[in-house]
């Protein structure tokens, strides 16, 4: 009669019985006699039999005892007086017993009384969450330091506290037939573009995964180009970043259990924009963005470029540099492509082990990797020092844009092989393909290379050469609904 899982639209309606015993059995059947489901029966003042049902650990025990059970036992004179007896603000009625599943897993308490075919849901949930800390992945010197946590309610508050505006809308969904994960879209009505919103809702409804454990699951399902290496959905752990994006017309997707909040649509330049850019001087920001874009380029191309030069275009290396390279690689048994591959392999191994290693033996890895692999490999004549320098440089450059790390690592290898087999010709071909791919990418209908392609003069103000905030009067036209002035404009406020 009751199926596994829960489907609010198709589920079979099981009416709540007047008999508590019967209700008890039904609920236990729905929950397959799970041990953490507590069913507690007691008598009220009016000598009615009552039963509270809740999941152990999800409810505030103190509130349950003091505000719900105590008034019922002490003061309840009639079953009609429940609302005026208990000290709880959020109460709902249900008639269908299969509807208790969702509230119970949310940490609500369901009350059944003998003689009435109603269930009462009291919202007194409380569970252990991580405190709000500074996200380790996105540290800033200046600006808010708080970060999202795994609890969706807290995350929503973090956003709401920054946009005190009635047009900020949270739209909740429940996804995953097994996990029933709570998802919430956050956007500002009137600023978010409706086509993008409709498209997003359509894609979210099409998610067929039975489990959502992190926002990454959603990201995979709603991406425009899942086969591309470039991620077209932004994610961040910082509320100020999300709020900034929402205010530009983007839509945030908050997923319960994940501190990473997704934002769509994403354009290329968001990889180079950090929250701090807007808190510091535009001149310095311009410098930083130039640095970031050049390090993006360096981290992809440099090893392939060096290998191409060393293998095919020795005439392009300045004479004195060539002399020193030639002296250094004298006796190195590998071709430069092999050298580069070896060093990249080392780098990736160091990176991966550094991430996974227990912190108390982390120093060992640092010593071993830095000293043994770097210096000794050169002394042993395995690789030339130039190659070590180049790979180390790419490693550093890569960490400047952590959001696109996956893309950088893979494309670097592609460019390396192209450079090793075809020389600069291969690199140029590879870069051309990458650039064409970047330009052809769309994120929810928004061109990925906006505002270069298509060119937008207003958008260029927040591109590499950043203008002062005062001059950024317009929201990105491809993202937002109205081309409203960002400042001195009340369209988002009524």
């Amino acid at each position: 009669m009751v199926q596994d899982g829960y489907n609010p639209k198709k589920g079979v309606i099981i009416m709540i019985s007047e008999n508590i015993e019967e209700n008890k059995q039904k609920i236990q059947r729905i929950f397959n006699n799970t041990s953490d489901l507590i069913l507690y029966e007691f008598d009220t003042l009016s000598n009615d039999k009552a039963m509270v049902v809740y999941i152990n650990g999800l409810v505030d025990k103190k509130a349950l005892d003091e505000d719900l059970i105590r008034p019922l036992i002490r003061d309840l004179v009639s079953t009609e007086d429940i609302f005026s007896t208990v000290f709880i603000s959020n109460i709902k009625n249900i008639y269908d017993i299969s509807e208790v599943l969702q509230p119970l897993t949310d940490g609500n308490v369901v009350l059944f009384m003998d003689g009435i075919t109603l269930g009462y849901i009291f919202d007194i949930n409380k569970w252990q969450t991580r405190g709000i800390e500074e996200p380790g992945n996105e540290r800033v010197v200046r600006g808010p330091k708080e970060g999202f946590i795994e609890d969706i309610i807290v995350n929503k508050t973090l956003i709401r506290r920054k946009i005190r505006n009635n047009n900020l809308v949270f739209e909740d969904y429940i996804l995953g037939s097994q996990t029933n994960t709570k998802i919430s879209l956050a956007y500002i009505e009137g600023i978010a573009k409706e086509e993008i919103l409709d498209e997003l809702k359509k894609r979210i409804k099409n998610i067929t995964l039975d489990s959502i454990l992190d926002s990454g699951y959603i990201e995979n399902c709603i991406e425009d180009a899942p086969k591309s290496m470039i991620c077209t959905i932004g994610h961040t752990e910082k509320p100020d970043v999300v709020v900034g994006k929402i205010l530009e017309g983007r839509i945030a997707i908050i997923c319960d259990g994940s501190p990473d909040v997704l934002t769509i649509p994403k354009v290329f330049i968001e990889n180079l924009q950090m929250s701090e850019d807007y808190y510091s001087r535009p001149q310095y920001t311009t410098f930083l963005r130039l640095l970031r874009i050049s390090s993006l380029f360096i981290s992809i191309v440099l090893p392939g470029f060096l290998v191409a030069l060393e293998t095919f275009h020795q005439e392009m290396i300045p004479t004195k540099l060539l002399m020193s390279i030639a002296k250094n690689v004298e006796g190195v048994p590998f071709t430069s492509l092999m050298e580069a591959l070896l060093m990249i392999l080392f780098l990736e191994m160091i990176k991966e082990s550094g991430l996974r290693i227990p912190s108390n033996i982390g120093t060992a890895v640092t010593v071993v990797s830095g000293l043994v692999l770097g210096q000794t490999a050169v002394q042993a004549g395995l690789v030339g020092p130039i190659m070590v320098i180049v790979i180390a440089t790419t490693g550093i450059a890569e960490f400047i844009i952590p959001e696109q790390m996956e893309m950088i690592v893979i494309y670097r290898l592609v460019i390396l092989f192209l450079g090793g087999f075809l020389g600069l010709y291969g690199i140029v071909c590879g870069m051309a393909i990458i650039i064409v791919h970047l330009i052809s990418l769309r994120s929810f209908g928004v061109p990925y290379m906006y505002p270069i392609a298509p060119y937008d003069k207003e958008g260029m103000k927040d591109f590499i050469f950043m203008r002062p905030m005062k001059e950024m009067n317009y929201r990105p036209s491809v993202l937002s609904n109205t081309k409203a002035k960002r400042r001195n404009d009340n369209s988002g406020k009524e």
Partner: protein
């Protein structure tokens, strides 16, 4: 079905395009740096109708360039010689006895023995132009009065290799103006230029006193190189040389001056004027900061006349005579004297070109060609003879803009 077929067609096309782009590009056959013998300078000589090619190759086994222990470092370069009836045969011949294949893209200088220069340079340079490895920005030089390989082994005191040494002293011409650093590409530009006969740089061996006491015991003298002067060619054969001072004039005429010193006697007239107290008969040196030459030809009554206009901005660099530099009239006099000196230098060179070589080394014919194309059509065949006859005048305007950080020479200053 249709879409599948279309996709398949696209796929085949893509693979086809990728394949041909790989095959048709000439980017195949990479060579590792470890397999290269990097040549930094090349010399060509001719002996008994055989071409001898000498290559200076970087010795990559001379250890990592770790600082400190450079006292007993092994040889930085090795010299390879090949012999053959042509240049390329001689070069390829080196693979018979040298363990690396030579790599010619990094040649700094090409040195031609005097005999080759007398025989004709062009036939030996054909390979340099034709082959894809050598770059045409290498400096071309004639070894005055000797063999190229005699010059090549001489290593400067600080340079890593002889080729570098030669390259560096050629680059220094911007401080003296008495040598000519001309690349192969530039040589050919002048070579192809209508009516012009190219001048190329020279290099010769000199003896140098050894100053270092420790070294003096073993070798009382040391050979060094000197690049002052220039080799004058007729088409591609060597016919004579310019001395360093004539080269200075040459560089003025062709507007090659980047710097240099104008040294002249301090004018006598200054002694008669008031500001003068001290002795006389000394020199004044003006350092050239900037020099600009404009040439112009005019034809009047069928006679070609050449006007050379030179503007020199200079700094008074040295003054031996006790004159008052702070006086503007004195500066005027010095400027005039300096201009006269430049005039003298230029006349000497031009006269030598007209009288001794009887050919146009200064691209004057081109000026005529541009300005009087009809006349040029008639005279171009006989241009070298006509050039020897043309009249010229030189206008030099010197402007002394700096006088250094002292005003009055120390021998003029009053005692305290």
């Amino acid at each position: 079905m249709i879409t599948v077929a279309k996709n398949k067609g696209n796929l085949i096309m893509t693979i086809y395009l990728l394949a041909i782009s790989i095959i048709l590009s000439s980017c195949t056959g990479g060579r590792e740096i470890q397999e290269l013998g990097i040549v930094t300078s090349i010399g060509m000589d001719i002996e008994d109708d055989n071409v001898i090619v000498t290559c200076e190759v970087i010795n990559t086994t001379s250890g990592n360039t770790q600082s400190g222990s450079s006292t007993h470092s092994p040889k930085e370069v090795v010299f390879i010689q090949g012999e053959g009836t042509t240049v390329f045969e001689a070069i390829r011949g080196t693979t018979l006895n040298f363990d690396r294949k030579l790599f010619f893209s990094h040649i700094n200088t090409i040195i031609l023995g005097e005999e080759i220069a007398k025989k004709g340079i062009a036939e030996f340079l054909d390979l340099v132009l034709r082959d894809n490895e050598p770059r045409e920005n290498m400096y071309i030089l004639v070894a005055k009065g000797g063999k190229a390989y005699d010059v090549m082994g001489i290593k400067g005191d600080l340079s890593q290799s002889a080729g570098n040494y030669l390259h560096d002293i050629l680059e220094d011409s911007r401080y003296n103006g008495k040598s000519l650093n001309i690349t192969v590409a530039e040589y050919y530009r002048y070579y192809y230029e209508v009516s012009n006969e190219p001048v190329i740089g020279i290099v010769q061996k000199r003896e140098k006193r050894v100053i270092d006491e420790e070294r003096k015991k073993n070798e009382p003298t040391k050979s060094i190189l000197d690049v002052g002067g220039g080799a004058v060619t007729k088409r591609d054969t060597l016919i004579g040389y310019f001395t360093p001072n004539e080269m200075f004039g040459y560089n003025f005429i062709v507007d090659h001056i980047k710097g240099g010193l104008i040294v002249f006697n301090t004018p006598k007239e200054l002694s008669d004027n008031k500001p003068i107290i001290g002795s006389e008969g000394k020199f004044t040196v003006v350092e050239i900061l900037k020099s600009k030459t404009k040439k112009n030809v005019t034809i009047t009554d069928g006679k070609i006349h050449l006007n050379i206009n030179i503007k020199v901005r200079g700094a008074l660099a040295e003054e031996n005579k006790a004159i008052d530099i702070s006086n503007m009239e004195v500066i005027d006099v010095l400027e005039r004297a300096s201009s006269e000196e430049v005039q003298k230098l230029i006349s000497k060179t031009l006269d030598k070109g007209q009288k001794e070589f009887q050919q146009d080394n200064f691209s004057i014919g081109e000026l005529v060609h541009h300005k009087y194309p009809e006349v040029w059509g008639k005279i171009s065949k006989d241009w070298n003879n006509i050039f020897s006859e043309i009249t010229y005048n030189v206008d030099v305007e010197t402007e002394i803009v700096k006088t250094g950080i002292i005003n009055v020479p120390s021998n003029l200053r009053k005692r305290r």
